[in-house]
Structure formats: structure tokens, C-alpha cells
């Protein structure tokens, strides 16, 4: 089981703040997860396209496309941060 979280503009655009997902066997890393999410089409395909600026964190650490994903992980997807 994975916990997926979405924040700020992405949360609004995707219409979801949190979801639980059984870890699909073909998802081994962040890039695999993104492929899966894009395959949902619509806002998912548009917002998570390669050329869009967004960030992924795995277990609350900033990740990149090669970061490994394991069962039980907490994965967050969000726009570039704008605090401070």
C-alpha cells in the first residue's frame, strides 16, 4: 500500500488531497509511479507531464525520478515551494 499526497495548486488541479494505492508490480521508482498516474489521462496527464514543474517527495525527503519506491511509502507530489 502506498499513500499518495497532493498539495497546493496540484491538489486543486487533480481534485485529490490523499489517496491509498496498492503498490502495482510495475512501479519500482518515482518515474514508474508517474507513468502510472499519467495513464489516468485528463488533468493527471496534463499536470504531471515531463515538461511541467513539480516536485516529488518520498517519505518526506525530496526525490528524483530514480528514487526507489517500496510498499508502505508516503509519496507527495507538489508544485515548486513558495514559502518564506
Amino acid at each position: 500500500m502506498l499513500t499518495l499526497m497532493y498539495f497546493a495548486r496540484l491538489r486543486e488541479a487533480l481534485g485529490v488531497s490523499t489517496e491509498q494505492l496498492d503498490l502495482p508490480p510495475e512501479v519500482q521508482d518515482v518515474s514508474g509511479l508517474l507513468l502510472l498516474l499519467r495513464s489516468r489521462g485528463g488533468a493527471w496527464e496534463a499536470e504531471l507531464a515531463e515538461k511541467r514543474a513539480f516536485r516529488v517527495a518520498v517519505n518526506q525527503d525530496m526525490a528524483d525520478s530514480a528514487t526507489v519506491i517500496r510498499d508502505g511509502d508516503e509519496i507527495a507530489i507538489f508544485p515548486p515551494v513558495t514559502g518564506g
Binding site: M5, F7, A8, R9, A53, A57, Q60, D61, M62, A76, F78, P79, P80, V81, T82, G83, G84
Partner: protein, 149 residues
């Protein structure tokens, strides 16, 4: 190290007194206070709302402060960041660093702010006359953090 993410306002003077209490070796305190401006990107701002990622925010801020402590000879650092609804002139963030001498305190304080701006998961949504909008990340913030790499 003190890291706080909170809705409530804070008292800068009182926070600095706590930070330096009991350490007569401190000769320098560099601090930064961020405020909500009533204009951004040329548009009037009536207010803003700050969203964050609970858990990761604190962890990211702790790591940034740890890095500053490794890099400079400083005593301690404090980061307070507000979330929720804010209006112009409200305090958003306070970063303060204590050290023996000013050079290291200044550098560490600016380093923490630069990393906070690009790595701590906070997002601003501001209210303007043409509606609410998510604030875009600034290219200048990316450039600022590059200096330290």
C-alpha cells in the same frame, strides 16, 4: 535548534531573548523577518493563505539548519514559519542565528533563508482583485540558493 511551524503570531524580541539566554559567549545575532507585502507581481494583495506539508516541513527545516551548523561555527538557530491566513504587514517567517562573530551568523542566516525558500514545503495562495492565485516560484530564489552549492 528550534523549529516551529504555527498559525499564531510571534514576538521577535522575546524569541531572540530565549535564543541567547544563558550563553555569554554569543557576540552576534543575525536575524531575518519576512512580512506579507500588500503588492506582489504588480497586483494588490488583500491577504494570503499559507499551506504546508506537515511532518516534511519540520524535517526539511531541521536538515537545513543542520547543514548550516556543519558549515559555519555558530551556536544555535531558530526558525519560526507561520501557516494559515495572513494579511499584509503580518509576520510570516523569522530566522535567527547566534554566533561568536558576525560573519558566520550572517552567512548562516542567509543560507537558511535561501534553502527555506526553495526546499521547505510551503505554498502561498494570495487574494488579488482578480481573484485568488497560487504564487509562482521565483527564478531569483533558485539563483540565490545556487550560490551555496
Amino acid at each position: 535548534m528550534t523549529i516551529r511551524v504555527q498559525q499564531e503570531d510571534f514576538d521577535l524580541g522575546a524569541e531572540l531573548l530565549v535564543l541567547r539566554e544563558g550563553n555569554p559567549r554569543i557576540g552576534a545575532i543575525a536575524s531575518f523577518l519576512g512580512l506579507v507585502r500588500d503588492i506582489n507581481e504588480g497586483d494588490a494583495v488583500a491577504g494570503m493563505s499559507l499551506e504546508h506539508y506537515p511532518g516534511m516541513t519540520e524535517k526539511a527545516l531541521e536538515r537545513i539548519v543542520e547543514q548550516a551548523k556543519t558549515r559555519w561555527n555558530i551556536f544555535d538557530a531558530l526558525v519560526i514559519h507561520r501557516v494559515g491566513d495572513l494579511k499584509p504587514t503580518d509576520q510570516i517567517v523569522l530566522v535567527a542565528v547566534t554566533g561568536e562573530h558576525r560573519g558566520e551568523a550572517f552567512a548562516a542566516c542567509e543560507f537558511i533563508m535561501d534553502y527555506l525558500k526553495t526546499e521547505a514545503p510551503f505554498w502561498k495562495r494570495e487574494q488579488t482583485p482578480s481573484g485568488a492565485r497560487w504564487v509562482d516560484a521565483r527564478e531569483s530564489d533558485e539563483q540565490a540558493v545556487e550560490r551555496w552549492r
